[in-house]
Symmetry: D2
Subunit: 115 residues, 4 copies
């Protein structure tokens, strides 16, 4: 599986090349990219708009639906990688850092089974 080998830095480099080939860096300021992430996130949500929660799990078993969901998720990630590039942020580092902050905010022994 590619996830076993590929780092976020690898993916960031691919997104950078994609943007560079189109000379789109001029549009990729943080504000526009944050809007783009939110727009793609809404397209992902639309795949589940009228489903119950169990139906949203079952949707994954439908190959065509699963494919649309995968691609919408990818679009969210691609813009996140674009923002990481525009900010010169090390995404792996900040994910690990934020997970530690979240772990502190939501201690497992307090939040087990509840939100």
């Amino acid at each position: 599986m590619p996830d076993d080998d590929i780092t976020l830095a690898d993916l960031c480099a691919r997104v950078h090349a994609f943007v560079d080939e189109r000379d789109w860096a001029q549009f990729h300021n943080p504000k526009n990219l944050s809007m783009s992430i939110a727009i793609e996130a809404a397209e992902l949500m639309a795949e589940f708009q009228w489903l119950t929660l169990p139906q949203s799990r079952d949707a994954l078993a439908d190959e065509a639906h699963r494919q649309r969901i995968r691609h919408e998720l990818a679009d969210v990630i691609i813009y996140c990688l674009g923002l990481a590039n525009a900010m010169d942020v090390d995404l792996s580092q900040v994910v690990i850092e934020k997970l530690a902050l979240n772990a502190h905010k939501y201690p497992a022994e307090v939040y087990r089974g509840r939100f």
Copy 2:
């Protein structure tokens, strides 16, 4: 830099452990996770809500603001990793696949410098 060493499988495993320790898998159906991605994306947008596009670039030079932006971006990614786990999706594979589809949809020679 962590991005150079840490694979997506590593990060997915860290998010999986975080969720597992809190017994939160019961809440992490695709519909709820898609909402969560959209909610975090909106919190990220809020960091740029009233700024002009150049001001949104300048915001990155302010250390406290940059930190908030990094952490909001991380929260979006963390829920994306959570959805990848819930769907058993290989994120690297789908990002690479979707970039190829986007490259076909937006040929560089047609879209250079325009959107």
Copy 3:
């Protein structure tokens, strides 16, 4: 009940006065207002983030929760009225117009009980 007496023109005028008193028209371009609508919509969604669909109905019976939901919904509407002001759009007219388009797109006899 106010809804029976207060026209949309009244509400738009109140939002206009609020913005005017703060000299905020300078920030209220359509792009910023569309972001603001989306940000408030996400805060509204967050009220239901981890609930099942039936639980989201039951939430309305909890007075404190109902109040938060009412206020988040109001914030979405207030920015919509702000955008209507910034665009000089007659909201009643466009809502009636769009309902007619939606009725044409989703004929009742085809879409009864399904989405």
Copy 4:
């Protein structure tokens, strides 16, 4: 102008009839409606995705673009009216109530010309 005569209660009744004719109340729980508002809000944002703030004002002068923006705004409002129906909320009342709370939170003399 219709806004001078039409109340939110009038519009809520029209949305109620639309939903009722399609037997869609079963899908219109608060969680689904909040997602729908956010999805439509993102479609509205997409109209301004890559524009600068001044360009987003200029977009209103383009008749075809203005029409798309009007209709996307209408879709956001229509789902807000649907949620008001599902919650049995008096929208005019809550808008007036929330404007008063916002006025208290953002005193005009403190926030004039700043956000």
